[in-house]
Amino acid sequence: MTKSQKNRIATIARYSILTVWALIVAFPLYWMVSTSFKPGEQWFAWPAVYIPDPWTLTNYLDVWTGRQELATSQYIISAQRPWIALGNSALIAFSATTLAVLYGGVIAYGVSRYRMLSEVRMFQLLMLRMIPPIVVVAPLSLYYSALGLLDTWIGLVLIYFLTSLPYAVWMLKSFIDEVPREVEQAAEILGAPRWRTLLEVVLPLVRSGLVATFLFILILTWSEYLLALLLAKTEVVTLPIELSKYQGSTEGRVYGRQAALSVGITIPLIIIGVIIRKHLARGFSFGMIRR
């Protein structure tokens, strides 16, 4: 066998394996999207219906506008609920993420330039993320109810801020470490105060890192389920919780509508994730991998 034949076989093998995995990845997503366009009787058909026939927008209209006349069930979907949940999710995720990135950035700067936290402390900070929240959420909910934070968006913002802080600090530190120190030293020699150096010299240089970190943490807070379920679920409902309410509905399964809502929850994350795809490895590895 010549070398070029060998290469050809290797190429074919590579594309076949990748295609198989691509199908495994794509099929559930395709099923979610296609179900969201299926009329009610095709949600559970056996044999399964692979392509909606006819394609319909009913599910989207039912879920997102509360349109009732075509609804096949008695289950009343309030028109505002998904939008309120969307608003809550956006408000909570954006506030917590903004706080985490701002504060995390300041800590990261201090650690990178002034060794404010030793390496051991930095790793201890990781425990905030690594210990599963379920082990503290029961006393936390009691504490929250004593403080009046239970079922409020401030309560969720606070806990999301705390749990995403390790990601923010570590990821931003990895970005700040890459900025050459000489620029700051020059600013310092020129007599610029430390805060101004941070705001006007360092921050602009790590702008893309800040954006990547922000979007990365947004993905995590947007999809969080456990804390949103246990610390707030009646007054303040986030999108994942709103979705889970369809599951418990008395009507049994309303797959089409679940799918229509799922598509709405997922699309923003996929857009964000694709934008920062080059930074995802850095994010998930707490900045330990920098590519």
Binding site: Y15, I17, I219, F284, M288
Partner: protein, 325 residues
């Protein structure tokens, strides 16, 4: 590497200007850390104390206020440490985490290996392959239900491909349920191992591989004797972080199974959840949480030890990959 901008050489007396500068840095440092310390003192500490309180007092929501709960000492701990149900949930969690971590890793590693050299369509496959990780876990769970119920499309496809009618009870057979969640976890998080390993392959210095090629080594030998050893820190990172996340998995397990059928999917988080929010045994839930927390702290400390060691190797690799820094 070092940030020795402000650290004076030891033994050298400081000039007054230097002294005020050191002080200013110290002030700066405490100003930055104060909110963090306040958060620890104001949120985490009280929560941990409350947990301790509940672990030693018998209280459920049916009894009056929790301040009047009865002191029962170590009874709860005796109860949970001797009950098989908790033991099983720990074993289940470990099995789930190990199985899904290994599954994610092997798949992610294989994909990264196939994709680490540029080829046509690389960007397309990369974007497609990261999608599961960007899908909200709860959405994964509900979509899985649409796919896996007994007359669902997965069974339909298995039936069509095999010619016989299969109706695998993915969601209701106690023998399969944990595997189902594991497969979902693998689908959901293989992208994590994939992107980490892909970054790992990218950061391997080219010279040793080229040298081995020139010396006539086969790609197989190069893989085992050059690439794999160089990838060790990245591999450990991918395994450790994934394992920790898998130990905490809750949304998919809960949304699909609530611990059932029977107790087939009752992992530690699910058992704590059931005890506290379904049986309302807050005290027992707190004691369970406490033991689970201790277990997790031990695991996390081991993980951190590993990560610290490997981080040095990673940092060195990072520098080696970009000479001239």
């Amino acid at each position: 590497m070092s940030s020795a901008v402000v650290v004076p050489a030891p033994g050298v007396p400081l000039a007054p200007r230097e002294l005020s500068r050191t002080r200013a840095v110290k002030r700066f440092k405490w100003a930055i850390l104060a909110p963090l310390i306040a958060l620890f003192g104001g949120v985490l500490l009280p929560v941990l104390l409350l947990q301790l309180y509940f672990s030693f007092h018998q209280w459920t929501v049916y009894l009056g206020t929790w301040q009047e709960a009865e002191w029962i000492g170590l009874d709860l701990f005796k109860e949970i440490l001797t009950e098989p149900r908790f033991g099983w949930s720990i074993l289940r969690s470990l099995a789930f985490a190990l199985g899904s971590t290994i599954g994610c890793f092997l798949l992610g590693f294989a994909l990264a290996y196939l994709m680490h050299k540029p080829f046509r369509g690389q960007a397309f496959f990369y974007i497609l392959f990261i999608l599961p990780m960007l899908t909200v876990p709860i959405v994964v769970a509900y979509t899985a239900e649409m796919l896996l119920y007994e007359s669902g499309p997965i069974n339909d496809m298995i039936s069509r491909l095999s010619g016989a009618e299969y109706k695998v009870a993915w969601l209701s057979d106690p023998d399969i349920a944990l595997t189902t969640v594991m497969l979902l976890e693998i689908w959901n998080w293989t992208p994590f191992s994939f992107i980490i390993m892909l970054a790992g392959f990218a950061s391997i210095p080219k010279e040793p591989i080229e040298a081995a090629h020139i010396l006539g080594a086969s790609s197989w030998r190069i893989f085992w004797e050059v690439q794999l050893p160089l990838l060790r820190p990245v591999i450990l990172l991918a395994l450790v972080l994934r394992f920790l996340e898998a130990m905490a998995e809750f949304p998919k397990t809960w949304a699909l199974f609530q611990g059932g059928p029977g107790s087939a999917t009752e992992t530690i988080p699910v058992y704590i959840f059931l005890t506290t929010w379904q049986y309302f045994e807050v005290s027992k839930g707190a004691a369970l949480s406490y033991v689970a927390m201790m277990l997790m702290i031990v695991i996390v400390l081991v993980a951190i030890r590993l990560l610290r060691r490997e981080k040095r190797a990673l940092d060195a690799m990072h520098v080696a990959a970009r000479p001239g820094e």
